[in-house]
């Protein structure tokens, strides 16, 4: 923890402690960071991927199991060329009031497509990667899902990964 946490202006303070008290061991705590991987190209040459815990997935694909007691440790691929109206959200654990009106508030696929089209970023990976947060076993997540997605991201040719919790 940094000293800044006491001055945090987050809308819902004490989230980590609240959830961890209710579901002991469910929240991730790391005492050390991982070494930073270097950025090797300017942004306008970088292929960007997007990883999201939003539960966004193409309509017609197997829905995430949002009610499994310990969580769903699978992921879906979302074509980066998809239209927002081709996608659904299967996740219960965050407010989707904004996303139901404009998916870009949690899954900014249209903004990323625009940034690629105008050349601000070098391009997008063919697929983005999604899963659902609120998995109750962080060690299992780290051992399985995180490695599965990391391998897929690595194979995708991404130069930068934008990752968004929900």
């Amino acid at each position: 923890m940094t000293e800044d946490s006491s001055g945090s202006r987050q809308l819902r303070p004490g989230l980590w402690a609240t959830v961890n008290e209710r579901y002991p061991g469910s929240m991730i705590h790391k005492s050390h960071g991982v070494p930073l991987a270097p950025l090797r190209k300017p942004l306008n040459e970088c292929r960007v991927t997007f990883i999201s815990t939003s539960g966004v997935q193409p309509k017609g694909t197997l829905p995430f199991d949002t009610v499994h007691p310990v969580g769903d440790y699978s992921f879906r691929r979302v074509p980066s060329s998809a239209r927002a109206d081709e996608l659904d959200i299967h996740q219960l654990k965050y407010p989707t009031a904004g996303a139901e009106r404009d998916l870009n508030v949690i899954f900014p696929i249209e903004r990323l497509q625009e940034l690629a089209a105008e050349g601000t970023i070098g391009g997008l990976t063919a697929d983005f990667f999604t899963f659902i947060g609120y998995n109750m076993d962080p060690e299992r997540l780290e051992r399985t899902l995180a490695e599965d997605i990391a391998a897929a991201v690595s194979d995708s040719g991404a130069d930068i990964a934008l990752a968004a919790p929900a």
Binding site: L15, V34, A37, G98, A99, A146, A151, A161, L162, P165
Partner: protein
């Protein structure tokens, strides 16, 4: 998740609306916004804000110096909502006509 990707040599960054959760999880780089959960890229129809948050995150990849660093963006949720409502109204209202003659 970010840590697993970063270990494969790909730099990562995330927007966060829960600074305490991010401080505990220590992702390699994060950008904090005091926004509502589920609204990490802002509010509906506010394209400029959504775009800005993406670019602030991507820009931070080159600028962060220490693993676990969190950048705070000076945007409030109240401002974002106010701007979003104004933008939505302008999208819904008819285009003003130029005066004739």
């Amino acid at each position: 998740m970010q840590r697993a990707v970063e270990r494969r040599g790909i730099p990562t960054v995330s927007p966060s609306v829960a600074r305490d959760v991010t401080e505990h999880a220590r992702p390699p780089r994060a950008v904090f916004l005091p926004f509502m959960m589920g609204h990490h890229f802002g509010v509906p129809f506010h394209r400029e804000l959504q775009r800005r948050i993406i670019l602030e995150c991507l820009g931070f990849v080159a600028e962060a110096r220490e693993s676990g660093e969190i950048r705070d963006l000076p945007i409030t949720w109240a401002e974002a909502r106010k701007e979003g409502v104004a933008m939505e109204r302008s999208l819904l209202s008819p285009v003003p006509r130029a005066p004739e003659g």
